[in-house]
Amino acid sequence: MKGLRHRLLAALVQIGPTGILGALSTLLLIAMLGGIIAILFLQGFPALSINFIFGRSSLEPSEGGIFNALVGTALLTLLMTAAALPLGVATGIYFAEYAKPQSKLTKILRVAIESLAGIPSVVYGLFGLGFFVLFVGKSLDALLSEPPLVVWAKPGILWSSLTLAVLTLPVVIVSTEEAIRRVSQELRQAAYALGATRLQVLLWVVLPGARAGIGTGAVLAIGRAAGEVAPILFTGAANHVAELPRHPTDMHMHLAYHVYALATQSADVESAKKLIFATSLVLVTITMLLTGIGSLLRAKNKQPENHGKAI
């Protein structure tokens, strides 16, 4: 008994104060995460039903289901991915493979991308409003109709997904670049030595080697963007849209925004409360699924490669 206590003490001393603090804060984090999920589950799960999930939205947020918001979130995420992924991956490839590290342009671009990642998401929302809705939208209207009608110069799912795409872009770029840099120089050399051209090395060796890393970064970025409200607030999301979006200029509903609407716009506070938890539970499940897939991919990725292992 005494020996055990002694050993425990010795272990604590060995870990040291930083180690103990680290362990405590980790425990605290896990407890908080567990708490949030437990509350969401306890309060939200009873309100889940087929009618709730597949029910159309109603003008009074506390009545009707979340189907419009669910479809809106999914469409938004898809469009956002379609825009951010090709551009982000291409830019990442450019940085890793083609950009001259010492050139001024490269340095400026790099600083720009890094600062982009640190901007609060509501600023993206304002940017989206100013750039996509007011500038691009207005220009499109002026080009496409005479006299100008307001078709594009108003919030819509195209603008909100492009705004989200801008938010996601830096993460995709950086993770693509890192994944590409992780492909060993020796493998590239081997391909060159077999007579591969630069493009062949990129397409046949580098990209296949980086695929898992690129995918991981993308899934994590998409998971994060799927739960963001601020960027879509002024650019395409609405409290209540009776129809599902059919046109790029249509406004749409969104799960996270729906939570906000339930909390602030509802007449029936009591029944809204249950729905807030239920809607949050659905949203958190989706983003956690995405993040979970991303983390799993990353863990799989991190396993030591045995390229050229000896014996």
Partner: protein
């Protein structure tokens, strides 16, 4: 009769920025023979190898001067495509560099680069290359399995097979056995001995025993200079140069 020279290197100097890695090296390499390059680390052996297949060009700020002739033609002539040279001159590195694909895809990589599509051609070439490297019996039932599942020695033989599948005229080996155990090493030595009957081999090795056992010709490098080169037996039994003698003594003793 003496064999004709496959590779003729004349006053080759290579520098990385301001650092001189090779200083006016001249060496003739006979066809279908094994030439061993020996010398202390950093003396320029790898640089010399990379000059023969123009891999140095991939290193920024690397400058090559002098001539390297392959079958009498200067490979640094402006009209010569480095890709073509690398297709004729294969290379195997110190650490095995298998791609993260199947055994089969690794072997036929070079053929695919050349646009070969025919399944029959690819399969025949794969079998031939694997037989030459004594791998065929070990892997013939799992050609679709990931190459990374093979042992270190097998991976290195796979890299040799990959280089052989495109039937190179010259094979450059940069310490291919230095990370392997004695058994894996001796298998690779057997494989290379066989290969010498069909291609010209330039082999960097740290093992004097290996150089002595395996090569027809030895070239000793020291600090970027070729100190002396000659028939293996002559170099080992009666080196002309003091440095060579000391190096051989140091390594052996």
């Amino acid at each position: 009769m003496e064999k004709p020279f496959k590779i003729q290197v004349e006053s080759l100097s290579v520098r990385y920025g301001a650092r001189i890695a090779l200083d006016s090296v001249s060496l003739d390499i006979p066809e279908r023979s094994i030439t061993a390059l020996i010398g202390p680390s950093g003396c320029g052996k790898s640089t010399f190898l990379r000059s023969i297949n123009r891999m140095n060009e991939l290193i920024e700020n690397c400058r090559v001067e002098g001539q390297v002739r392959l079958d009498g033609i200067d490979i640094y002539h402006p009209q010569v495509d480095p890709i073509e040279i690398r297709k004729r001159v294969g290379m195997v590195f110190q650490r095995s560099t298998c791609f993260a694909t199947s055994i089969f895809e690794n072997v036929v990589f070079g053929l695919r680069l050349r646009g070969e599509r025919s399944r029959d051609v690819l399969e025949a070439a794969c079998e031939e290359a694997l037989r030459k490297t004594a791998l065929w019996d070990e892997v013939k039932d799992r050609l679709r399995a990931p190459a990374q599942g093979l042992s270190g020695g097998q991976q290195q033989r796979l890299c040799i097979a990959r280089a052989l599948a495109v039937r190179p005229e010259v094979l450059l080996l940069d310490e291919p056995t230095s990370a392997l155990d004695p058994i894996a090493t001796s298998r690779i030595e057997e494989v290379i001995r066989e290969l010498a009957s069909e291609c010209t081999i330039v082999w960097v090795t740290h093992s004097m025993q290996q150089a002595k056992r395996m090569s027809d010709q030895v070239a000793f490098f020291h600090m970027g200079k070729l100190v002396e080169a000659g028939k293996t037996q002559e170099i080992f039994e009666s080196p002309k140069h003091e440095l060579t003698l000391n190096y051989l003594r140091g390594v052996f003793g």
